[in-house]
């Protein structure tokens, strides 16, 4: 079995505070991996370490088969990243942002034009090419951010709370895009606080105060709760609350 992402004993300390504690997991190629956990549990920190944005205090990681500590440059060509905070250029137009990332990924002019058309269509941004990005509303911004992160056809996509703060319709549109990418063989690691979204992942990793508690399919996770609790048909939200309550009492 080939893995898109492999993490072994990932640990990150900020001074004395341990934000991520000995986390290990693997994500299969082509999988949609949901990363769940309450605020401040360490999801963003794990992703940033995988992206090479910060160095782990301890532990090893592989992305697309390359070691994160050595082959950052190779990895960066194969991954796309959408950070939790919107991080495109707000003072550039939609098209200028796409042009910029296309250029930075070294796309040829012809390919860039083709990808731009595709992305504008996919993100429902046609006719807004000349809009200054800061004037876009939430859903459009996020679809543009996704567009910029996949302009180079990455193998693996990291989405850190991509749907935070957008309306249900925009969320559904966004997840339609994620499925499409997944069908095309892209591995996706996504963090979210929406349990209906988590429901659609192949695997869920649940992280709590820096510790990875469970790693399973959504259905198995529900069983886990049923085993430990009396609940006829628990939703993932029940699972989330259950785990936090249980762990919180420790």
């Amino acid at each position: 079995m080939e893995y898109a992402i492999e993490i072994e004993n990932f640990t990150k300390k900020f001074g004395k505070f341990t934000a991520v504690n000995d986390v290990s997991f693997k994500v299969k190629k082509g999988e949609v991996f949901g990363f769940l956990g309450p605020n401040g549990s360490g999801k963003t920190t794990v992703i940033r370490m995988l992206m090479g944005l910060i160095s782990p205090t301890y532990g090893k990681g592989k992305v697309a088969g390359f070691d994160i500590s050595k082959d950052g440059d190779r990895i960066r060509e194969k991954i796309g990243y959408m950070s939790q905070k919107f991080s495109l250029y707000e003072d550039l137009t939609v098209e200028e942002n796409l042009d910029f990332y296309g250029g930075v990924y070294g796309l040829s002019k012809k390919l860039l034009e083709k990808k731009k058309k595709e992305i504008l269509k996919m993100a429902d941004l046609e006719g807004r090419e000349k809009t200054i990005t800061s004037n876009l509303s939430g859903g459009w911004k996020q679809r543009l951010a996704l567009g910029c992160s996949i302009i180079h056809d990455p193998e693996i996509l990291f989405l850190d709370e991509p749907t935070g703060g957008v309306d249900p319709l925009a969320r559904r549109k966004f997840w339609d895009l994620i499925y499409k990418l997944s069908q095309n063989g892209v591995t996706i690691l996504v963090t979210t606080h929406y349990m209906d979204e988590a429901e659609h992942c192949n695997t869920i990793g649940f992280i709590y105060y820096g510790n990875l508690l469970t790693l399973d399919t959504p259905n198995n996770m529900k069983k886990y709760v049923i085993d430990g609790h009396i609940k006829v048909k628990p939703s993932l939200e029940d699972v989330f609350v259950f785990i936090v309550n249980k762990e919180g009492t420790i």
Partner: protein, 374 residues
């Protein structure tokens, strides 16, 4: 390290879009050079003429009287006080009545008549070095003019130098302080503008979060730095042309040397100045810190580079410190080309130093830049 021109071009284009949409940046680029040049240019020119002067004349001859007339006629010196002793002269200058004192020794007329070199002593109030500099150069000009006249009048044409005024300043024969000031001012403006523009360029992206997205792309440090620098080299170039045009057409400063050489040196200097800005931007944790750091850099640059005060008058330690500023060399180059008409061969050392400095500081900025968020 890989280097892909496409990536660099993408960064350059992006920077230009951002500059185009930022009014503050546009103001710094276009208004600051004009304003600084006009403000400093005029401020520096106010103290040029009608300098209140005290005279202590030990010589009763006609020649010394003619000399003093020459000073008065130049419009630069007003003989307001007559002193009867050296102490008197000091008193007038110490108490601020006069800015300059002219002391003529007893044998002055005698020396001129017999074809010997006649000395004059000039006492200048050094508390304001800028005007002191002007006074020195003005007096030098008057003495020069008088010498020519004396030689013309005198039968003994072989006399090498009839008047000896030790504190003569050779450049700037028009005796205009603006001619002397403007070249240095151009350097100061270029330094200030480029530093203000680039010192934010990296740290702003860090603060806004756009850096996080940028550094997960395959762009290399070198590509990013080059892409960040080139737009400002172009802008700095526009600024120098703007400043030069204003100097030549508005202030009527004559350019003795080659404009092409001057522009060439400007580009060389820009790389150093921008490199310093990028370095500041790279090591700063916030835009505020970047601003403080660049202010911290600009002050000593203006004070010590020789723009304000002659470096020769500075203590050795300060002179040594001022050697680390690229502006020091650039001002030398500017004055050399504009005032003295220097060619490349007399500025070779400055060229080498500026190139080395530029490469070093850019390498340092690139080295210090980490593809990490903290």
């Amino acid at each position: 390290m890989n280097f892909n021109v496409k990536r660099v071009l993408a960064v350059i284009r992006k920077e230009f879009y951002q500059i185009k949409r930022d009014k503050r940046t546009i103001a710094i680029i276009l208004l600051m050079p004009i304003m600084e040049l006009l403000l400093f240019g005029y401020a520096a020119s106010t103290s040029v003429d009608h300098i209140s002067t005290v005279v202590f004349n030990n010589d009763m001859g006609r020649e010394s009287q003619e000399l003093l007339d020459g000073f008065t006629n130049s419009q630069y010196f007003d003989i307001d006080y007559i002193a009867y002793s050296m102490d008197d002269v000091h008193h007038y200058i110490d108490d601020g009545y006069s800015k300059a004192g002219i002391v003529i020794p007893p044998e002055f007329s005698e020396n001129i008549k017999s074809g010997k070199t006649a000395q004059i002593q000039l006492v200048v109030d050094g508390s304001d070095p800028t005007s002191a500099q002007t006074i020195l150069s003005s007096a030098g000009g008057v003495a020069q003019a008088m010498s020519v006249e004396i030689i013309g009048d005198n039968a003994i044409k072989t006399m090498p130098q009839p008047l000896d005024l030790r504190s003569r300043v050779w450049y700037n024969p028009d005796m205009s302080s603006i001619n002397f000031n403007v070249p240095g001012l151009i350097g100061v403006i270029l330094q200030t503008v480029t530093l203000m523009l680039t010192s934010f360029s990296i740290v702003r992206e860090r603060e806004k979060g756009t850096m996080e997205q940028l550094i997960v792309t395959p762009i290399s440090k070198m590509e990013l730095m080059v892409g960040k620098i080139i737009p400002y080299v172009i802008i700095g170039f526009i600024d120098i042309i703007l400043a030069l045009a204003l100097s030549v057409f508005w202030f009527k400063v004559p350019v003795a040397g080659s404009i092409g050489l001057l522009l060439f040196f400007s580009v060389i200097f820009l790389f150093s100045a921008l490199g310093v800005g990028l370095l500041i931007s790279t090591i700063s944790k916030s835009q505020l810190q970047a601003m403080q750091l660049s202010m911290f850099m600009i002050m000593p640059n203006i004070l010590l580079s020789g723009y304000m005060f002659p470096r020769e008058a500075m203590p050795k330690v300060i002179q040594t410190i001022s050697n680390i500023f690229p502006l020091t060399y650039f001002i030398k180059v500017l004055r050399g080309i504009i005032l003295k008409g220097n060619g490349f061969s007399s500025l070779k050392n400055e060229f080498i130093i500026l190139v080395i400095f530029g490469i070093a500081v850019l390498a340092m900025a690139t080295f210090k830049f980490k593809k990490k968020i903290y």
